[in-house]
């Protein structure tokens, strides 16, 4: 069981995390952040395994992962 904290404002919407999340719970949002990107969001924290794959591939260290 895990949780991720996402720092929306630093996300650049690159989808790298979306691609690798084994739980498939990461999606790009509809809305834009201040930098003009669609930031990622976790659509179902309860499915998060805390595997930190998202953290690993994210180039912008948007995630904090808890387990």
């Amino acid at each position: 069981m895990g949780r991720v904290i996402i720092s929306e404002e630093t996300c650049k919407g690159c989808e790298a995390c979306v691609l690798v999340c084994p739980a498939k719970i990461l999606k790009l949002s509809e809305h834009l952040n201040e930098s003009g990107y669609h930031p990622v969001s976790c659509v179902d924290q309860s499915k998060c395994t805390g595997c930190a794959s998202c953290y690993r591939v994210c180039p912008d260290i948007v995630f904090e992962v808890y387990r």
């Binding site: 650049k12 690159c14 989808e15 930190a52 912008d60 260290i61 904090e64 992962v65």
Partner: protein, 266 residues
């Protein structure tokens, strides 16, 4: 927003397993979306934290997209001329022998203009660590052909694809350096998948350890993506790296100080 509050509450009782390394400043990377420069920065920063060497580390970043690396690392830094980071690092390390000196260089930087500097630093066995970002392109200047660009790869200066007849072959830098005795740790990794990123981290750590132990020159070549100048989105870029770069640039630990250390992995 209320979601966020809830999660903040929940995690209070949990273990933080992954978070921003202490050695990094709060500044958001200036890199393009998806650019793996950020990933490698994080791995280096984690290494510095884990080895507790922040106070004696001096980074050297030459020109390239990562010229502003000093914005991010809470260590002393020297910004080097294009291609000359190994020379600058030599100057630093020879002057402060107790320090840990690393360079962070692109493939245009290290494998083109900086060819002589990397070869001779390696051959001298300078006790520095080189992080070599091979993204098969000149990123910062807008996508010109790098020495590591692949055959038929289209770039701004090889608009019809790299032609070996007139532009030569992609240079395998690690293979070229692996013959030098002064080189004590040498590995090629990729940062495309979580698993490879874990391996990359291990390699970077070993490289720094090699330096800390005073053994000699250490380098990690990191296969990296440049979605912007490759003209691809991030998923396609990773695929391109996997399908084109890795076959030509096989992932491999070329050299490690001791046999036991040579296993790789986390």
């Amino acid at each position: 927003m209320k979601d966020k509050a809830k999660i903040l509450e929940e995690v209070k009782t949990m273990k933080k397993v992954a978070t921003r390394p202490k050695c990094l400043s709060d500044r958001t990377f200036h890199y393009c979306p998806g650019c793996t420069h950020g990933v490698v920065h994080r791995l280096v920063a984690e290494t510095i934290d884990e080895l507790a060497i922040q106070e004696k580390t001096i980074g050297v970043a030459p020109v390239g997209c990562s010229v502003f690396a000093y914005w991010y690392f809470n260590t002393d830094f020297s910004q080097a001329a294009h291609g000359r980071a190994p020379a600058v690092a030599t100057g630093i390390k020879r002057s402060v022998p107790g320090s840990v000196v690393f360079t962070y260089q692109g493939d245009g930087d290290l494998a083109a203009i900086g060819t002589a500097e990397i070869i001779h630093a390696a051959n001298r066995g300078e006790k520095i660590t080189v992080i070599f970002i091979n993204n098969a392109i000149y990123g910062m200047t807008g996508g010109q052909m790098a020495p590591t660009s692949l055959i038929n790869q289209k770039t701004q200066t090889s608009p019809y694809g790299r032609d070996s007849e007139t532009m030569g072959y992609p240079i395998r830098v690690s293979e070229m350096l692996s013959g030098f005795e002064g080189v004590k740790y040498l590995s090629r990794v990729a940062v495309d998948t979580p698993a490879n990123i874990v391996k990359a981290k291990a390699a970077i750590k070993k490289a720094f350890q090699t330096q800390l132990e005073g053994k000699g020159f250490s380098m990690v070549e990191v296969l990296s993506i440049c979605p912007t100048d490759w003209g691809m989105n991030v998923p396609d870029s990773k695929k391109w790296l996997q399908e084109n770069m890795i076959p030509y640039y096989p992932l491999k630990e070329f050299k490690a100080p001791k046999a036991e250390d040579a296993k790789g992995g986390e």
